[in-house]
């Protein structure tokens, strides 16, 4: 009897596995909790995202979803629009040299920035937002035990209150990114009278139950299901926002999110990939908003240190420590084919870190040339002597033993979606054409990018090559370049130089970039671009469009690489 029962259960299980889960089963997600979050107003929109935001504080995990909800409830001193223009939020105006807000001491190489805040902004409990909140936020960030690292933190000597609505930031250097240091997509000003400093900036309760000074107020949050936000009646730009209620629903599967958009069950699908964008083409009910500028540069990272180690000088990688190998790999990747076949031509080939205004450098584009790639490998002592399709070290210069196979692991993350998975497979195939065996592996982003002490693969150096997309927010790449390429940033936990790239000339150039002299900065960045082009610590592939799907009943949605799609939600209107 037992066996017969199981005989019947197996087919049933298979049907669920192969068909229902793939398609229909997932649809039940959208209907499961309909009752509990039915909008009580016609002026309501639904945003769908794949996972819960960890909190309202993007400094904790920086998943993007935290920034998305932060923009609903919290303001910073200033923010950036899709075109890279900085605009004031809590600030009455942006401090500049011209208006006296920025005072530079050329001799000492220091500067001070005076922020004057609007006096008409209050928290949702009626308490005014003042300089005390800004100073409190800075105190929380810089707490040696419970604080957090933010870009430029080391360049701030002190912050002093000048009046109830003004304060001055004293820098020990010329810091070009000062305008968004207390704003942008990651930093908000937190309420001093509401948040508990002892709980710490990263862990405090107000990070999950924030008091609002933004356009919306958090009403309820059912983890793994939805968050509901109501209009903030005390919002300083009243009668904005024009929408009464925002529901953020957690829908893990991108196919389900797409279906919800097409059926009118959702209004915003954040960060859609090119496959979804293509599928939505021609829809009457859904439009795709693309950012006017690109940010997300798909990169192939090389680990220049031996796998499992973090010192590329002491323990160089047996294959990738040879720059000719890296150049050969770059030459073997046919970016145009990947773009046309996988990204429908929507990606843009890119070959320099400095590809977007105002810092664009004229680095010559590397050519796709299989023969040149093979010749480079041959000349570097990598030869397929046993004709098995994979080269071996025969006199190579990396310190690898004779006969060492040119075989490496090649990792990516699944959250990006199918286009990246296919890209990874195509690149692995292209590398096999020149005798490099790339063993594919797909690992969640949370494991790939986690801290070394938590087993993070990149930070602990436990990889050969990986591919993912990244880019700096806003218009100033200085901090990003430091984090990605400086020697100081190759220490696990101190930056993102997971390639363990080590070039003192580049370090000196990065230091030179910390100036307010724009002409000098452009020159410096282009010098860095040339060095990176020569050293190839990573291969720059292409930028993918930053796109959001939105229902046609919403007007005013504008995707932005400089912030989350909710950056201007107060301005959205419903037809």
């Amino acid at each position: 009897m037992f066996t017969r029962t199981r005989t019947l259960l197996f087919p049933a299980f298979m049907v669920i596995l192969s068909l229902a889960i793939v398609s229909c089963g997932l649809r039940s997600q959208s209907a499961g909790t309909e009752q509990s979050i039915t909008p009580d107003s016609t002026s309501s929109i639904t945003i769908v995202i794949p996972e819960d935001p960890p909190s309202f504080n993007p400094m904790v995990a920086d998943t993007g979803y935290d920034s998305l909800v932060m923009e609903l409830v919290l303001l910073g001193m200033a923010d950036i629009d899709p075109y890279g223009n900085v605009f004031p939020e809590l600030a009455a105006e942006l401090p500049t040299i011209e208006n006296g807000g920025v005072i530079v001491d050329e001799d000492a190489g220091t500067m001070s920035v005076t922020w004057t805040m609007r006096e008409d902004i209050q928290w949702s409990d009626g308490t005014p937002v003042t300089a005390d909140d800004a100073l409190f936020t800075w105190e929380a960030i810089t707490d040696p035990v419970n604080g957090s690292w933010i870009p430029g933190i080391d360049y701030v000597d002190s912050i002093e209150k000048l009046s109830q609505y003004s304060f001055v930031v004293n820098y020990n250097t010329l810091y070009p990114n000062y305008l968004t240091q207390l704003g942008g997509e990651q930093i908000a000003i937190w309420p001093a009278h509401y948040c508990d400093l002892e709980q710490g900036f990263i862990a405090w309760d107000c990070g999950r139950e924030p008091l609002s000074d933004g356009p919306f107020v958090l009403h309820d949050w059912l983890k793994g299901d939805h968050m509901t936000f109501h209009k903030n009646e005390k919002y300083y730009l009243a009668p904005k926002p024009n929408i009464d209620q925002v529901i953020v629903r957690i829908v893990p599967d991108d196919a389900v999110r797409k279906t919800m958009m097409l059926k009118g069950d959702a209004d915003i699908d954040m960060w859609i990939n090119t496959t979804v964008a293509k599928d939505l083409e021609g829809s009457d009910v859904v439009k795709v908003s693309m950012s006017p500028t690109d940010r997300w540069l798909m990169r192939m990272f090389f680990n220049l240190a031996q796998k499992g180690t973090v010192d590329s000088s002491a323990t160089p990688h047996p294959i990738l420590s040879d720059v000719n190998v890296r150049k050969a790999i770059r030459s073997a990747i046919d970016i145009d084919t990947i773009n046309s076949e996988i990204y429908f031509g929507l990606a843009t080939p890119v070959w320099s870190e400095f590809f977007r205004p105002p810092y664009q450098c004229n680095v010559p584009r590397p050519t796709y040339d299989l023969e040149a790639a093979k010749a480079l490998l041959e000349s570097s002592g990598w030869i397929d002597s046993d004709n098995d399709g994979v080269r071996e070290c025969r006199g190579c210069s990396t310190g690898a033993p004779e006969g060492y196979k040119m075989e490496m692991e090649f990792i990516t993350y699944p959250e990006f979606g199918e286009p990246l998975i296919l890209t990874q497979q195509l690149i692995a195939e292209m590398l096999s054409d020149i005798g490099v065996k790339a063993n594919i592996s797909v690992v969640e982003g949370s494991i790939l990018w986690d801290q070394a002490e938590n087993g993070g693969i990149e930070q602990s150096g436990n990889f050969d090559m990986d591919i993912w997309d990244d880019g700096y927010p806003g218009i100033d790449p200085t901090d990003y370049i430091w984090e990605m390429y400086s020697q100081e940033a190759l220490v696990p936990g101190f930056g993102n130089n997971v390639m363990r790239y080590n070039n003192s000339e580049v370090d000196a150039l990065i230091d030179e970039a910390y100036t307010l002299d724009e002409a000098s900065r452009k020159e410096t960045f282009c010098a860095i671009a040339e060095r990176l082009d020569e050293d190839v610590p990573m291969v720059y592939l292409f930028t993918t469009p930053n796109a959001e799907a939105h229902s046609t009943r919403i007007e005013g949605v504008q995707s932005s690489v400089n912030d989350m799609v909710t950056w201007n939600i107060a301005d959205w209107t419903l037809k």
């Binding site: 299980f13 596995l17 592996s441």
Partner: protein, 299 residues
């Protein structure tokens, strides 16, 4: 008159062949295995992309269509079958290697040994197996050992096998508890046979039927678990096909290109149903009362 071993075998085979489902299952599974073995005869490379032919529907050239990189789906299903069946086979072997000795020791010796081993078995049975499978797979894919590479066939098989041995232990223990009291066992003991000889030479062969039946069922479970792990991206990695990762890759195309999920799903379905019917047939065939009935008719 005591029936001879050959008469038992004949009786078992006769009963098995009378189970229509089992015979059909045997034919189907044999066909699938043969097709997978001879997959190399396919003119298509299962891992090589052909971008000009991507996402083609079934046709006379590509009988089951092509995937998002233009690879022939039939070829990938057949190569994927090799992987899935291999994982299933190795996982069952691992389960047998762990479960049978534990069950044999517990059933033969009884007492404290039985209690300890069965409590361990109970502890494993109480685990939410698939969740633990995912956890183990996630841990093991961070391990870089020469024989346990990330997401390799052996790693996945080990993970599945390590959590599937408990049924074998329970069944073998039950068989040993009964058989150890039989007269022929007492006779062997009286003649001075060692415990090992009694267990391996006398009791195990008489209790092997139930193990074989369970092994066929476990094979089905292991294939499903591999498919589940691969579907969740914890299993065999692309471009190497397995039935699970073929379905995983079909997710985003299901509405437009349903064959990408349906055909691998059918392959899994047919395999699982077949091995279950074979298991069902074997269960009936090994049933001692039915066998004795039949042997009795002949004698």
């Amino acid at each position: 008159m005591i029936p001879q071993p050959s008469e038992f075998s004949i009786a078992i085979w006769k009963r098995f062949t009378r189970h229509r489902g089992a015979i059909i299952g045997m034919v189907i599974i044999s066909l699938i295995i043969l097709l997978c073995i001879f997959a190399f005869l396919s003119p298509f490379n299962p891992e090589k992309s052909s971008l000009a032919e991507k996402l083609l529907p079934p046709s006379s050239v590509h009988l089951l269509g092509t995937d998002a990189l233009g690879r022939d789906l039939l070829t990938r299903i057949l190569y994927g079958g090799r992987i899935s069946l291999t994982v299933g086979g190795i996982a069952v072997a691992i389960s047998l290697l762990i479960g049978v000795p534990i069950g044999a020791l517990a059933g033969y010796y009884g007492g404290k040994i039985d209690s300890i081993l069965m409590r361990i078995t109970d502890a494993f049975l109480s685990l939410p197996s698939f969740l633990v499978l995912i956890l183990l797979a996630a841990i093991l894919r961070e391990v870089e050992l020469p024989i346990l590479q990330r997401n390799s066939v052996l790693t996945i098989s080990l993970v599945i096998g390590a959590l599937s041995w408990m049924t074998f232990a329970r069944l073998v223990r039950a068989a040993f508890l009964t058989l150890r009291e039989m007269d022929y066992v007492s006779a062997s003991r009286a003649l001075g046979a060692s415990d090992r000889r009694i267990m391996l030479g006398h009791i195990l062969p008489n209790g092997i039927g139930v193990v074989i039946v369970e092994a066929t069922l476990q094979l089905g479970y292991a294939i499903i678990q591999e498919a589940g792990l691969s579907f969740l991206n914890f299993g065999i990695q692309q471009p190497t096909p397995s039935w699970g990762n073929l379905i995983y890759a079909a997710q985003s195309h299901f509405t437009k290109y349903p064959w990408l999920a349906v055909f691998p799903g059918i392959a899994i379905f047919l395999t699982i149903v077949s091995v279950n019917y074979i298991g069902d047939g074997l269960r009936d065939a090994f049933d001692p009362y039915k066998v004795m009935e039949k042997v009795g008719e002949w004698t």
